[in-house]
């Protein structure tokens, strides 16, 4: 259980007040916990509260779905449909109107009562349900255990003086990793308000002496561009979610010469794969032979990286099938290439493009744009950006019947802004006479 791993009080600093989670000072009463025993719970809270209740619920609940702070109605519908949820737990801070199943306020479970002093005997291996970032607006739910999530987490004394900043939603895979890292290392956790803009979040972290931070390469570029980067004194830098190229690693070495820099290879589906700490892009070729910390690696015939995790126990919930094949190999779908003594990441096999850590299927955006009057044909692809990794580019052939095309590009952008999440909105809309075609007559992206 997570609570058992906290040897010293665990501090969480946030805009809803600092709190310390220590043994014997539970936010939920024993009676409250009894009600939650073996239940399937959706936890929908402010990020700082989410962290607090994760620790409480581990070992008590059968399974806990972590609900992103900004979850919308579509998310609730989807998970209510797929999962057999017993109840939603909330702290009263987030918007809960769109839940159809019972919502319980955690305040109700935290009121003290007389029999609070005995121990809750039973311990369960709670399943943690995390939503993938989703390619079609319908998230897939993946079940994890604390073990599968923390295999590469360092628990040594070295990390104890770290104060981890939380730039991600803790209900998302990357954010949950940071939370577990902080808990297991008895580090502090600093949670900027999710309502702050990005630069203000960095300022908040700097003001609270954050010295360990995890972000995607795109976010790191944004951090390096901001004013507050100079105020950060980082000892541990973690990159994940996108390809960490040598350029961004070098920039970080330059700005934070004393920091350890780790890039993690992980995904919601495969859990934590492995981490690389030698300040070089990719990973050593020798790991294909030797494996790394209980993970075996191989390159498939399609040149994608496959992982075999000795602790594999992830499955898709709600009928989305098994993740690993019969021998336990998980195909990550990430294309790799061997260059000298390194295995380098090259992008996604299935044509999905990675925009700021979000997987985007070009066809989704294409179908949205095709519905706009004046559009004849469209091809969406990734355009590499030295600043943001990849951006969405839409090549559009205007309808020949459309006389004036001057406002078409702007219309398309405005339409997409209303209809799609921001990371799917094309950064570039280019009007072209025809789309590039491949040999088989398929549109080349």
């Amino acid at each position: 259980m997570l609570k058992a791993q906290i040897s010293e009080p665990f501090s969480v600093i946030s805009d809803i007040g600092p709190h310390t989670i220590a043994d014997g000072c539970e936010p939920i009463t024993l009676q409250g916990l009894q009600q939650l025993k073996e239940k399937c719970i959706a936890l929908h809270c402010h990020p700082a509260n989410l962290v607090k209740y994760v620790i409480e619920l581990d070992g008590v609940a059968d399974s806990v779905l972590l609900v992103p702070y900004d979850a919308c109605e579509a998310f609730s519908r989807r998970v209510e449909e797929k999962l057999n949820l017993d109840l939603v737990l909330t702290d009263g801070i987030v918007n809960i109107e769109h839940w159809k199943i019972d919502v319980t306020d955690l305040g109700e479970l935290s009121k003290s009562s007389a029999d609070d002093h005995s121990e809750l005997a039973a311990e369960y291996e709670t399943q943690w349900l995390l939503a993938t970032s989703g390619t079609t607006g319908t998230p897939k739910i993946v079940a994890h255990t604390i073990e599968s999530l923390t295999r590469t987490t360092s628990k040594g004394t070295k990390s104890e003086h770290l104060s981890w900043g939380l730039l991600y939603d803790p209900a998302r895979f990357a954010g949950f990793q940071v939370v577990l890292q902080a808990i297991l290392a008895n580090a502090k956790l600093i949670v900027p308000s999710p309502d702050l803009d990005f630069e203000s979040k960095i300022e908040y972290l700097a003001a609270n002496a954050c010295n360990a931070l995890s972000a995607t390469p795109s976010l790191w570029r944004k951090i390096l561009m901001g004013k507050a980067a100079g105020q950060l004194n980082l000892k541990q830098i973690t990159l994940g979610g996108e390809i960490a190229d040598q350029r961004i690693i070098n920039s970080l070495v330059k700005q934070f010469p004393d920091a350890e820099i780790t890039h993690i290879f992980a995904s919601t589906e495969a859990g934590v794969g492995f981490s690389v700490k030698d300040k070089k892009a990719g990973f050593p070729v020798s790991w294909l032979e030797s494996g790394i910390r209980g993970v075996k690696l191989k390159i498939s015939s399609q040149e994608t990286l496959c992982l075999q995790n000795t602790h594999v126990n992830q499955t898709y919930l709600g009928g989305d099938g098994s993740i690993a094949d019969a021998e336990g190999w998980i195909d990550t779908g990430d294309l790799v290439e061997i260059e000298n003594d390194r295995v380098l990441f090259k992008g996604r096999l299935n044509g999905a493009i990675n925009i700021g850590g979000n997987k985007v299927i070009p066809e989704d955006i294409e179908s949205e744009i095709l519905g706009i009057p004046g559009v004849f044909q469209v091809a969406v692809r990734a355009k590499s950006s030295s600043i943001a990794g990849s951006l969405v580019e839409a090549l559009v052939v205007p309808d020949p019947a459309l006389g004036d095309t001057s406002s078409l590009a702007k219309n398309i952008k405005q339409h997409c802004k209303k209809a799609l999440p921001s990371f799917k909105v094309p950064a570039f809309v280019r009007l072209v006479d025809e789309l590039p075609m491949g040999m088989a007559g398929k549109i080349k992206r």
Partner: protein, 88 residues
């Protein structure tokens, strides 16, 4: 050298227009890039757009990566690399 600056400022205005971003009234050397109305996506679009109009992307070319804070620093990077381009 002032041409580079003009191209950049023009590009910023056009991208703001196309993306419905509101720029701060005064753009000068001290303007902080991410505060002047372009968000980080707008900034990435700007760099790609300038690659189209100037023919180079200094952020790909630089050996030691530098990320500018202000418009002045940003222009200086482009001016420095436009000299290199001219020599090449």
């Amino acid at each position: 050298m002032s041409d580079v600056r003009e191209v950049i400022v023009e590009s910023i205005h056009r991208i703001a227009e196309e993306n419905d971003l509101e720029l701060s009234d005064t753009l000068n050397d001290e303007s902080v890039l991410l505060d002047c109305g372009l968000d980080s996506l707008g900034f990435a679009i700007l760099v790609a757009d300038l690659e189209g109009s100037l023919g180079f992307d200094p952020f790909v070319m630089m050996e030691e990566p530098v990320y500018p804070n202000t418009l002045g620093e940003f222009v200086a990077i482009y001016e420095k690399f436009s000299k290199k381009e001219a020599k090449a």
